[in-house]
Amino acid sequence: MSDVNSQAFIGQRSVCMVVWTLLVFGWLCSSALAQISISAPQDMRVFDTPSDGGGSLTVQWAPSSWDGPDARYQVLAGDAAVTDPAALTIIAEFPGNSKYVKDAKTAWWTRNVDKTWHQVLVRSAKGFEVKDGIFYAVAVAAVQGDQRVFSQVLVASPSPDWFNWNQLNNLIIALSFGGLVFYSISYAKRHEIFLRRIPGLDAVDEAIGRATELGKPILYLTGAHDLHDPSTIAAAVILGKVAKRAALYETELLVPHREPITMAVCQEITKQAYLEAGKPDLFKEDANFFITADQFSYTAAVDGIMLRKKPAANFFMGAYFAESLLLTETGASTGAIQIAGTDSDHQLPFFVTTCDYTLIGEELYAASAYLSKEPVQIGTLLGQDIGKAVVLSAIGIGIVLATVGAVTGAQWPQLFLDLLRDLK
């Protein structure tokens, strides 16, 4: 081995030695530091989980300086008589840098500690049952390697609550919106309110007129849902207006249904429409009829009606799924005027493509106002519009604040954004 080579070899060995020494020293220091820093969880509190249905306790404790992925926390619980924390059952174990108050989906006005505190819910688990009205002992342990340090043992009892304070914002917004709607209705009774044109509804008369001219029936569908869904109710309300005009023009009306209760309600609505039109003798009990609740069997049956009876006007109101295109495309092939109205946003592209007119989203709800021109209905629309303006303003403010926060790196916009997020 030459001198140069041996010097280089010695040099490399020296560097290796230094690196190894540093690594070993570093490891010893870090493990020694970790061993020293672990301590019992501080300021621990246990109480009945607020705003819940019972069967749960909340455990909170302050964050520690050594919180990290290497250290772990254990939440232990057991019979209230137990005083030794080591005798309790481990309910949860997780890394020291997880399970914070901020992770729990609670609103800021219900928080009783800073969002950087740890929080865990004690609930029934395998081999451990939490029952309302019974006291339980709870403790938290900090764990690292073989070391385990316990907090004090606290006792609490779970109980169910009568109000979910996390949803207070929701209640306030709902009541405010309800109040707004009723105020708008009373305002509309006293004032004239402009209502923009909805071409789809202007075409209703045209469609019924055409059916009358051709001597063909009108087909009206109320959608896939039952009367739980507001869109079905809106469809039933519009049916009343369409049936009244069909009665005036003495045109046959066919209303196939997927749900028996909706059928019964629509029968009443149609009957009343014929009465109001002064043509009760023209009313047929079987104008509304049930086919089946099954999606595609219903679709096949309605397609069959379209092809055999060739209605001159098809109305598709309410909620729809994959059957929408099968219905409207068949209707288009028979040359009928087609008017759709749905809040099923995923089916809108199909309706827009295959129907002559489509009422999009809330236009379905606005339809009864447009057709009746009653102040009650128009006032409701005004209320909805004001509601939308409020939502739009919140979105606008949120966008500006988020942008300012991102551009300047300032923290204050986040406070307002949190407020808006909790107010959702």
Binding site: G53, W162, F177, F182, Q267, F290, A322, T380, Q384, G387
Partner: protein, 216 residues
């Protein structure tokens, strides 16, 4: 009579409407129990309502067969199909298979219902194509924008499209995640406000046309 047809239903609507709106804010097990009981009652009422539907169905088709109206043969098929399935279902106790062996009911399910439903759904692809050909035209600037977006998304959602135009996958993902989501949210906000307003009107009896009958 007017009490039974008008006032009582409106009173029931008001009380139950307010009760179940309040239920959303009450986490107590009693409130949850009330919701469960009500939903079970609704199921029972719904079950009886089916009798109403089936009666209407049988009546409608019996009239067609009796008068031999156009397509009365289909009504006959309906009678045979429905009564036959009910009979087989009762015979096999509603089981599609017993210890791994397919029953007659299972045969109807697997070899009639499954292919028939599959066929109906499969027609969708053909109808999408014919509807697109007939209606997807750049009649205006807005329609042209829609057309371009649709072509990009169609390309980006299939491997061949991404192979031919590698960027189409990312662009279609952006269109779906950003443009599509925001537009749908806007529609949803409008729809939700409309639904809430309608619910308020129904609960407080302002909207009553769903009961049939006009104002009095």
């Amino acid at each position: 009579m007017i009490f039974l047809r008008r006032q009582l239903p409106l009173l029931i609507t008001l009380v139950t409407g307010l009760l179940f709106a309040a239920q959303y804010y009450v986490p107590h097990p009693a409130s949850e129990q009330m919701l469960t009981s009500a939903t079970k009652w609704l199921q029972i009422v719904g079950g009886f309502a089916l009798i109403l539907g089936v009666t209407s169905l049988f009546h409608q088709h019996a009239v067609k067969i009796r008068r031999q109206e156009a397509g009365w043969g289909y009504s006959l098929v309906l009678y045979v199909g429905m009564l036959g399935t009910i009979a087989v279902g009762l015979w096999t106790n509603g089981k599609e298979s017993v210890e791994g062996t397919m029953t007659a009911f299972g045969w109807i399910y697997n070899y009639m219902m499954v292919p028939l439903q599959g066929t109906m759904f499969a027609i969708l692809a053909f109808f999408i194509a014919s509807a697109a050909y007939r209606s997807f035209r750049a009649k205006s600037r807005e329609a042209a924008v829609l057309l371009v977006a649709a072509v990009i998304v169609m390309m980006g959602r299939v491997p061949l499209g991404e192979y031919l135009i590698p960027l189409s996958g990312d662009v279609s993902s952006w269109i779906l995640n950003v443009l599509n989501s925001s537009v749908r949210r806007a529609i949803l906000i409008g729809v939700s406000l409309g639904a809430v307003a309608l619910s308020f009107k129904i609960i407080f009896g302002v909207e009553r046309s769903y009961l049939g009958g006009g104002k009095e």
